[in-house]
Subunit: 321 residues, 2 copies
């Protein structure tokens, strides 16, 4: 991985920066933003971090997270260089109505639009945090404990803490260096994976207790659901279900996991997670939703039984597509 | 971490080895054993791996796992050097009735007995696999892909794949090197975390459904249990419970998770996992067991209620120790 010289040059030459990341931010967006801001500040630059949604509960442990502003009001943004991280279109960050002196993009997602005066897009990088690490190193900035923990969190979340297939030896080597510089792997892991509320845990159990495995052609699909009653009984909300649909994937024979959650008397949202054999993007599209091959979803009205029947039909049509 | 010269000398001088590890083996016991066996064979030694319980379903993916024998019949053991790994007492490995030429012990658990002619005990080491890595390196042996994946699995399982507080920068750096040498982090993670049988998943659910949170002084302890009936109903075995006691740790307020599993009508095994506030090694020791500060266990006879009462008393005594 090589940081473009043009990008380093701009970061060295310019003095005022606004770092922005996508709506619904997760650890890579937030950790990358905060680390870069701290680094630029440490060499005397003026730097701000903006995220329209602020810092979700899960990430309130990030050191220096109070740097994150949810408004750009009062800042003459046209005097600042934008650094858009972990996304590459201004509307993804809610900044499409602002004008900046220069637009810089640092991201590991593929681009569709041609936004940006100075861009570094590295789809092979496991995390934007890894790219920010290289930028900070190449600028000759000393990584302090706060930067290290933010970068470690960024890399951690985007690799499933070194479990996904983007976990290269470089990822592990950079992680090791960040630990030497003060990142605390256990603290980060506890905050990311072991800080559930008891109610959320009870909701997960309720959901998993509804599981049925249905064979569709030659594959097994795990169906689970959460009713409004279950939300009420556990005093939880829709937001508590994030990531729930992944759990049934633990089972070897489960090729697709589908979780329905009730949003109103006759309304449901479905989240689907797969392991490759079914193109869930097509399944979702056939039911009015969207997503990727292995992670997609849709909304629908009707009874759970009807909904399930329609979904089974669509999965049948999209096996091995 | 420094391998004792005496140990290296014995491994260099001697030519016939039997490597043994504890009953109910997990990834560290198996991965360490297999890697050491492959390494010794690669420099022309005769080496055998013995485990009285063989390789559980979960670990059948380990490269070269077919090396593991479940019997020493026919081997004139008195002509062989024993290398006891990941435990330090012969009865833990079911070899107390055999006699060996020399007894070597390599382990990261604290010893209670003085077994062994040549011992390397390193309680600070995250995994026995990390110690075996250093032995192989210090012997000047080239680590091949099979050794790398076994060592990576050993280190992975004992650090919760880099989530526990034994995850040092050295652990991550060694993991990075093992990836360079052929270990596949995603393959190992899928096999460790996403290859459950449906029955095992059902057993986990049954166990989690028994959960009660009990407040002991100012900390919360999650108690769960698995009865012989639950094993029968889900057609599972004791080996299927590996790692189960970690699940309740997901809950923020849970400081200690204790899982009891019934091994006979009136006999139980307890696995405890903590987050730091209670020294579980002391708790386990007080009840005749052993382990580390945040991961320990013991066996006991009696009713579940009695057992729980004794444990609660011991936890009370060992908070903030």
């Amino acid at each position: 991985m090589r940081v473009p010289e043009e990008l380093l040059e701009v970061l060295r030459q310019e003095n005022k920066f606004i770092i922005a990341s996508h709506i619904n931010p997760e650890g890579d967006a937030l950790g990358s933003s905060i680390a870069l801001c701290l680094a630029l500040k440490s060499i005397g630059k003026e730097a701000h971090v903006f995220n329209t949604d602020g810092v979700p509960y899960l990430y309130q442990f990030l050191p220096s997270m109070q740097l994150i502003k949810t408004s750009l009001d009062g800042l003459p943004t046209w005097q600042y260089c934008l650094v858009l991280v972990d996304c590459n279109e201004p509307d993804r960050a809610g900044i499409e109505d602002y004008r900046f002196k220069l637009n810089i993009v640092v991201d590991h997602h593929l681009t569709r639009k041609s936004f940006g005066d100075v861009k570094w897009i590295e789809p092979e990088s496991a995390a934007t945090g890894l790219m920010i690490y290289h930028i900070i190193k190449d600028l000759g900035i000393k990584i302090d404990r706060d930067m290290a923990e933010n970068l470690y969190t960024a890399i951690s979340i985007d690799t499933g803490t070194f479990r996904y297939d983007n976990t290269t030896s470089e990822v592990l080597r950079v992680a090791a260096e960040l630990v030497d510089l003060g990142a605390d792997p256990a603290r980060v892991a506890i905050r990311l994976y072991e800080s559930w509320t008891y109610n959320r845990f009870k909701l997960l159990l309720e959901m998993l207790n509804t599981m049925e495995l249905i064979k569709i052609k030659d594959i097994k699909v795990a169906f689970t659901h959460i009713t409004l009653d279950m939300f009420r009984q556990t005093d939880t909300t829709q937001a508590d279900t994030e990531n729930f649909s992944n759990f049934p994937r633990m089972i070897d024979e489960v090729e697709v996991s589908v979780m329905f959650r009730q949003t109103d008397d006759d309304a449901w949202k479905a989240s689907m997670r797969g392991k490759g054999a079914v193109n869930l993007a097509l399944v979702a599209a056939s039911l009015g939703g969207g997503g990727h091959r292995n992670a997609a979803g849709f909304k629908a009205e009707g009874s759970l039984e009807d909904l399930k029947a329609r979904l089974i039909k669509s999965i049948e049509d999209n096996i091995n597509q």
